[in-house]
Symmetry: C3
C-alpha cells in the first residue's frame, strides 16, 4: 500500500482528487493517497478535514475513531484531536493537554464535485492550481460518475485515456467503432497540457449522437483528449450539424460531452480512479444520467481488466520495457510533463 521509493512516479506538490464530494461525510473515510494513509471527514459546517490516518499517540487509524463535534476521538485511548489535528483532550481527561501533540493535516479544497487534497508542501497549496474541470460544475452541464480502485500504476490509465485507438480492441463489444480508426489524429502539447485531437468533418453520426442532436444528416464530429497535470484527462466529444461552424478548437454549436477521468496514485502499482461524463444536452433528464453512468461504468471496467493484466505483466517481465509508437504520443507527452515536474519538484508552468 505505501510503497514510497526514492524515485517517485508522481508529482508530490499537486492537487489530487481524494474523493467524490458525496463520499465524504461525518463518518471518516480512510484512503491512502500518494502512499500516505489519510482519513477525511466533514465538519458541522460541511467543510472537509484531511488528516493522517494514524493517531499521534499509538498510531491506531483515526478513521476508526468517534466523531465529536468537529473533532475526532481515537478509539484506543480516547486522545481527542481537533480538525486542525491538534490535541484537545488527553486520554486521561484530567491531564493537561499537550498541544504539541498533533496529527498531520493536509490542505483540502472542494471544487468541481470533488474533494481535492495536497499531500506535498502545504505552503504551496494554492487552489488556483486545481485542474480546471469546469464541465463538472457548470450549471449548463449535467455531470455524474463513479469510482474504481485499480491495481495498476496511475500512468497506465493516463496512457489509456490519451490514446483514442484502443477502443476498437478493448471495447469491441461496447463502444469500439472501426471507422474511427480512419480519421487522422493530431497531438498538440502546450506548456502545461497535452491534447490528442481527432476531427471528422461531414460524417454520419452514430445512433448515440444522432439521438443527442435530435436530428438526422451529416455532422462534424470531434474527439479531443486533454491531459491536465498532475493526472486528469478530459475527453471532449460531440457532433455539430455540417455548416454550423464548428471547428476542432471551438465547437459549441451542437451537442457535447466531456468525459472526466481523474487518477490519484495510491501506491506505485495502484490508483484511485474517478470517472464520469458531463454533457450540455438533456441536462435535466435524470434517467439519461443514470443510464449513461451505468454504461460508462461498464466500459471503464473493461479498461480496468486490461490495465490490471498489464500491470501484472510489467511485474512478470522485468526485462521488457513499454514501447511508444505513434499512437502513444499523447501518453508519452503526458508522462514527460509528469517527469519534468517531478524533476523540478514543482508543477509544470509554475517555474
Amino acid at each position: 500500500m505505501t510503497l514510497r521509493t526514492d524515485t517517485p512516479t508522481w508529482i508530490t506538490n499537486a492537487w489530487y482528487v481524494a474523493a467524490w464530494d458525496a463520499e465524504v461525510d461525518s463518518t471518516p473515510l480512510a484512503r491512502t493517497i500518494c502512499g500516505m494513509p489519510i482519513m477525511l471527514y466533514r465538519k458541522l459546517d460541511r467543510s472537509v478535514v484531511a488528516m493522517r490516518d494514524a493517531c499521534p499517540h499509538r498510531l491506531l487509524p483515526l478513521s476508526m475513531g468517534i466523531r465529536e463535534g468537529d473533532s475526532i476521538r481515537c478509539k484506543y485511548h480516547g486522545l481527542k484531536l481537533g480538525p486542525d489535528g491538534v490535541a484537545e483532550e488527553m486520554p486521561l481527561k484530567a491531564d493537561k493537554v499537550n498541544r504539541s501533540i498533533c496529527a498531520e493535516t493536509f490542505a483540502v479544497h472542494e471544487r468541481h464535485r470533488f474533494v481535492w487534497i495536497w499531500v506535498g508542501d502545504k505552503a504551496l497549496a494554492d487552489p488556483a492550481l486545481i485542474p480546471d474541470l469546469w464541465p463538472c460544475s457548470d450549471p449548463a452541464w449535467a455531470f455524474d460518475g463513479g469510482y474504481y480502485k485499480v491495481e495498476a500504476d496511475y500512468r497506465l490509465m493516463i496512457d489509456n485515456l490519451m490514446d483514442l485507438t484502443h477502443e476498437t480492441h478493448v471495447h469491441s463489444g461496447s463502444i469500439g467503432q472501426p471507422e474511427l480508426m480512419e480519421a487522422p489524429i493530431e497531438t498538440v502539447a502546450s506548456g502545461d497540457a497535452v491534447e490528442v485531437r481527432r476531427w471528422m468533418p461531414g460524417v454520419n453520426p452514430p445512433p448515440f449522437w444522432r439521438g443527442a442532436l435530435r436530428a438526422d444528416g451529416p455532422v462534424d464530429r470531434w474527439q479531443v483528449c486533454r491531459f491536465l497535470p498532475p493526472s486528469a484527462v478530459m475527453i471532449d466529444v460531440g457532433v455539430a450539424p455540417v455548416g454550423a461552424g464548428a471547428t476542432i478548437e471551438r465547437h459549441d454549436q451542437g451537442v457535447r460531452g466531456m468525459v472526466i477521468d481523474v487518477m490519484t496514485p495510491e501506491s506505485e502499482t495502484s490508483h484511485h480512479y474517478f470517472w464520469g461524463m458531463a454533457r450540455n444536452f438533456d441536462i435535466d433528464d435524470a434517467g439519461f444520467t443514470a443510464r449513461f453512468r451505468a454504461q460508462q461504468g461498464g466500459v471503464f471496467a473493461e479498461d480496468m481488466v486490461i490495465l490490471e493484466a498489464q500491470q501484472r505483466a510489467i511485474t512478470a517481465n522485468p526485462d521488457l520495457r513499454l514501447q511508444a509508437y505513434r499512437i502513444d504520443e499523447g501518453g508519452t507527452r503526458a508522462r514527460a510533463l509528469i517527469a519534468r515536474a517531478i524533476r523540478s519538484a514543482q508543477l509544470p508552468g509554475d517555474a
Copy 2:
C-alpha cells in the same frame, strides 16, 4: 512466519507458554514460537515433547507424522524419532540406525495449566524461572480461559494490558466504565516486574462485584496490573467491604479475580495470546466459569481488532513512532525490562 531479524524484539532465554495444557495431546500440535516451527505432543506418561517441526531427513513437518508409542514417524519416508529427537529407525527398517540423526528438542515444563517452552540455550532452562502465575493452579481458585492468534507484535498486547484507561474507549460497549478514569493510577517498578495500580476506597461496587460479594454497601476496590517477564500480565481486580482492612498491597478480605494474559511471540508481527481469569469466589460454579469465559473472550476480541489495526498502521506509517504519555508508563517500563534483558541476553534479575 519466521521473520528473525538481527535486532530481536523478544527475549530468547526465557520461558514462553507454548500451549494450554489441554491443547497438547497424543496427536502433534504445530505452533511457531519465537520464529521457530515447533510441534508438541504428549508421551504415554503424559509428559510433553517439543521438537523442531521439520524432519531432519527432508524437512517435512513432523507434525504431519504418525505417533508410535512415545516416538514419531515421519509421514514422508518413515524416519522414526524418539521423544529425545534421536533417530530410532531409518526409512529402510533394515538400515543401521545413525544415531547422530536427530531433530532439535526444546525444554518444556508444565505448570499453572500451561505448557512452557524454552527456545534459547537449553542449559539455562531452569523451571524456577517460569513466571509465577500461581492463581492458575491454586486449589482455592477457579481458573479457565482461551486462546487467540493475534496478528500484532506481542508487545502491543503488553502495552494494552498495562494500561487501565483504554477500557472506556475500546470496551465502551462491554466493560468500559467512565468513572474508573477518575481514580488515580500509580506505576511501581521493582527489579523484575512492573505494576500499575489503581486504588478506589469507599466506592459503590458495580453489579458484577456486588454479585460476587453477595452484599450491598460501599467497598474498597482495586486494580493492579503486574507485568512479569518475558511477557505475562496478571491483573488483580476485586473489592472488599469498607473497613475490612484491604489495602492496595494486601486484599484477601473480599472477592478477588486475577486476569491472566500470556503472550508468546510467533513472529515480529504476530503472537499467540493465552488469556483467562482465576477467581477466589464461587469456585465450584461451573456455569459461572463458562459464562465468564465467553464474556471475557468477547472483550479480548475487541482488543484484538484494535491491535491488528494498530499493527497494520505501524507498517503503513513507517515514518511515525509510538509515543508514550503518562498512561503508558506501565507498558513503557515493561518494554524497558524486555529491552534490557535482550541487551544483556539474559532474564532480568538473573545477572
Copy 3:
C-alpha cells in the same frame, strides 16, 4: 512467479514439457515456464507456436489477444504479430509496419503426446535431445495422464519419484505395501541417466498385476525408476511368470506399465507436473484407462500434499538443509546430473 536468481535451479538449454498436446489449441494457453511468461497456440496446420506472453508494445499478455489466421492480435491496441512473433500490422492499420517489432518466440516440438519447449539458446534446440518417452507414443502401448500445478521446487518431485520407499508412508491408504520395503534396491548411474532398481523374483503378485497378467502363480516383479534430464522420470513396473526369462534389464515377457512423470519448473518454488501411465496390456480397454487415470491422479495428489508441505517447511526453516540417506541415492544422483549440466551450461552428455 518469475523468481529468477543468479544461481538457477534448472537447466536452461533443455527441452521441457510445456503442455499436454490436448491442452494447446487455437485459443492461447498462458503458462510460465522456467520463470518466463509464455503463451502457446496452434496454427491452422496444427503446429504449435510458443511466444513470450507480453505484447512488445505495452506488455499486455498476448494470451488475452484475438487469434486471426495464424497470427495473434493484441487485445489492447491491436498490434498484430505473426506466428514468428514479428509485427504484421500496427495499431493504426494505415501505419507502416515496423518489422523490427517482435515478440520473442521459442522452439517447440511435439513428441510423445507432449508439447516440448526450449527456453534457452534457440540455436541449440535439437529435437534429438528430447527425452525419450517412447511408451507414450508406441502404438503397442496405451497412454493417458493428467496435469497438476505443484507449489514446490521441481527437484522435490524428482527426489520423490526416484525413491521407492516413500510409498509405504505417503500412500499407506492407497498403493503402499510394506513388503516392497524388504526387496533390495540398486542405484545405477550411466552418463546421462540414473536408475533405481528393485528386482523381486518369485513373489506372489498383488491383485492389480494378477488381473493384468490374467494368471495366477508366482511371478518375477520389477520396479525401475529412470531419471532423464532435465526433469523426467519413467518408472517401469510389471510382472512376468516365473521361468519366462524376465530379468531386471529385459522384461517384456509379462505385463508392463511405464509411469511417466515430467516436471517443468515454473519458478524456484513451483512447477508444472505432467503425469500418466503407459501399459502394454489391455490397451484397447478405454474404461481401464479412465479408471486407472483417476486412481493415479488420487495417488499423485497425496504426493502433492507432502511436497507442498515440504516446500513450506524448507522456507520456514532456513537454517536446516535436506539430508540424503541411502534411499535418496537416486534423487541425489539426479540432482548431481542437473547441477553438473547447469555448471557446464549444457545438457549432460553434450560436451
